[in-house]
Symmetry: C2
Subunit: 386 residues, 2 copies
């Protein structure tokens, strides 16, 4: 049975990515690999808007998050963690595991923290060296105002590191023009490849902190990764096929064009959100991210049964809520390799499954709203990923 992923990671893989992984493997200590790895790194840098090294680690996004803690701090240091979801809280868990005192700015799941809330934490904890937060919170679909928060942190000499796991490839981060000091992300989201790679990019202030940081690190030693990258190498054997897949994906993104990639995500997110609200449903997050649309399960509807029907009858796999939101959310992913036709499939299946489960709606209303959204978004030109 056909099943198309509309989960907020892993996301659909372009044919070019699948092909790259199906070719006979090459050795990583060769000029051929080094050239491809350096070219991949350059494409990732361009996309992030930076001349700083982008380090590729063989791990999940959480490994990259850990690297951004263990390479920046020492035992007994203080940090501030802004969290309003499962992944924001992960920063706190990492700090705790490493003996870093992490002061939480917690907001209700679905909400985003304001600059004022963060500023009051910055005043309360003047010893904090780094502020960690999530850009696009996958568990709630909320988009945190990372740039404003980073500006406030910088004003107090605190470095800001963001988890861009579901925002890389969705939002234009313009790293070098921003007040961000570090960005980490993973491979299975906007980058359109399978999970297994984590990425880290530090700005000059973060590298300065890294020199003094004394937390233990070996596999995630970023100074070593940076030194190796200069020769197109990695300190340890890289996940070769995933790096080659990244090359294929980053090439696709460059061909489509940075601006076009971000605009396509905006159109896809707009259409999905309009479809949801046309159905009379409530968006869970107050500031919804273009990566994933979290929709509150309406009263009287079985939050587990709808996704099951979407998958089994309509071949569309979405995600439900996590932790205490289990059964209470539908999470419709539109991050990565999705075009207009995909979104029509997604909202069509969503509408149909709701209908199947007794939710009263006017058939076609969600698809119509999505169509209108795409039409308004302009041009009528086909949206092409490559």
């Amino acid at each position: 049975m056909k099943r198309v992923l509309f989960t907020p990671g892993p996301t659909q893989l372009p044919t070019e990515v699948l092909e790259a992984m199906a070719r006979p493997i090459i050795h990583h200590r060769t000029d051929e690999y080094r050239t491809l790895f350096l070219e991949t790194t350059r494409l990732l840098q361009e996309h992030l808007g930076t001349t700083q090294p982008v380090l590729t680690l063989s791990c999940s996004g959480s490994g990259a998050m850990e690297a951004a803690v263990s390479n920046l701090l020492s035992a007994g240091d203080e940090a501030i963690v802004v969290e309003g979801g499962k992944f924001g809280n992960r920063w706190h868990s990492i700090c705790e595991a490493y003996g870093v005192a992490s002061h939480k700015v917690s907001v209700e799941w679905g909400r985003v923290a304001t600059v004022e809330e963060v500023e009051s934490a910055l005043s309360a904890h003047p010893k904090a060296k780094v502020l960690y937060l999530t850009h696009s919170e996958t568990s709630t679909g909320a988009l945190f105002p990372v740039h404003d928060i980073a500006r406030a942190a910088k004003a107090r000499g605190v470095a800001t590191v963001i988890d861009a796991v579901t925002s890389y490839g969705v939002y234009d981060l313009r790293f070098d023009q921003s007040d961000l000091d570090g960005v980490v992300w993973g491979s299975q989201k906007g980058l359109m490849i399978p999970p297994g790679l984590g990425f880290v990019c530090f700005g000059p202030s973060a590298w300065a902190l890294a020199e003094k940081a004394r937390l233990p690190r070996f596999y995630f030693n970023l100074a070593k990764a940076r030194a190796a990258l200069e020769k197109g190498d990695t300190p340890f054997t890289p996940a070769i096929t995933l790096v080659l897949a990244t090359h294929a994906a980053a090439t696709l993104m460059a061909k489509e064009g940075r601006t076009q990639v971000f605009a396509r995500h905006q159109r896809n997110a707009d259409a999905t959100r309009r479809a949801a609200t046309a159905l009379g449903l409530r968006l869970f997050s107050e500031v919804p991210s273009n990566a994933v649309t979290a929709v509150t399960v309406p009263a009287g509807v079985d939050g587990g049964a709808v996704p099951k029907t979407m998958e089994q009858r309509y071949g569309v796999k979405i995600a439900g809520g996590q932790d205490h939101l289990k059964g209470k959310l539908f999470r419709l992913g539109h991050i990565g390799h999705y075009d207009e036709g995909d979104i029509l499939r997604l909202v069509g299946a969503f509408e149909s499954a709701l209908l199947d489960h007794g939710y009263r709606l006017e058939p076609g209303i969600a698809v119509k709203a999505a169509q209108e959204s795409f039409r308004r978004a302009g041009a009528g030109a086909p949206v092409r990923v490559a």
Copy 2:
């Protein structure tokens, strides 16, 4: 141009593995994935000869090594590291990075440590809790007597953890019947898949140490990985395509049969070694491993040019020496998906390239030696991987 890998990792990938990676990706929080992951784990356990959980980590073999340090010890603890090559020394570097005092038993590269040498270190450092060593040292092609060493360590209450990166799939480790307390390995060697996964298996004594160990760990927290495995999960998003590739490879190995896999490696290694000695060349390691044959570059031959010719003219990629052995070794890998025809290609290309570079030899002598070795090994039956 065709290039076939005969490097000691990454190794050739079976078609079944390439196919598994080229299929549309599935989501990891599904029954389909969990079933495949649990089945994969069961196959890995069977191959290792254990009922203990085999933990799959998304990282290289070095990440798995780090996990075997950070999960077993606390800051200030002592360990013994046996090393006679690049990878043995990695245990020492990891211990140092974590503030563990690591006492080295160093032997010259190419040699293996004796039980007596290890016993004297065990007496000298009675506080040591864990002994770390490499089974098959990839940098020198030497095979360390891990079982005898583990027995000696156990007699003194010291746990033994081995790096089986290039011995898993080559040697029958019979973990539960051995005195070993921990084994770590990677994916790109005997397991015949690309790099990107590390594996750890602990016995009861190691798990008992893990309960008291206080080194910081988050991404590599093995207790969490063990708990998640019970439900077919991982604490973090797994490298899905590589896990599915592992399933394909482990299924191939199970079909071939454990004993047959080990016997095939023995035949391939014997034939390669006999070819090398028939050429009048010296094996570098005193106890050569069945994973890789390290051959000393003979006087008057350019140690860099021969591998280059093998690759460019004969489509056979081998490895050279590492670190101070650069230019001084040829390392011929025969770990994983290799059959009799592959080995004839390998030694044929080796002989031809040596001839091309002015080394005096009787044409055909290496291939003849390999053929005779295979014939003596018996049966004449075709060696089938699957």
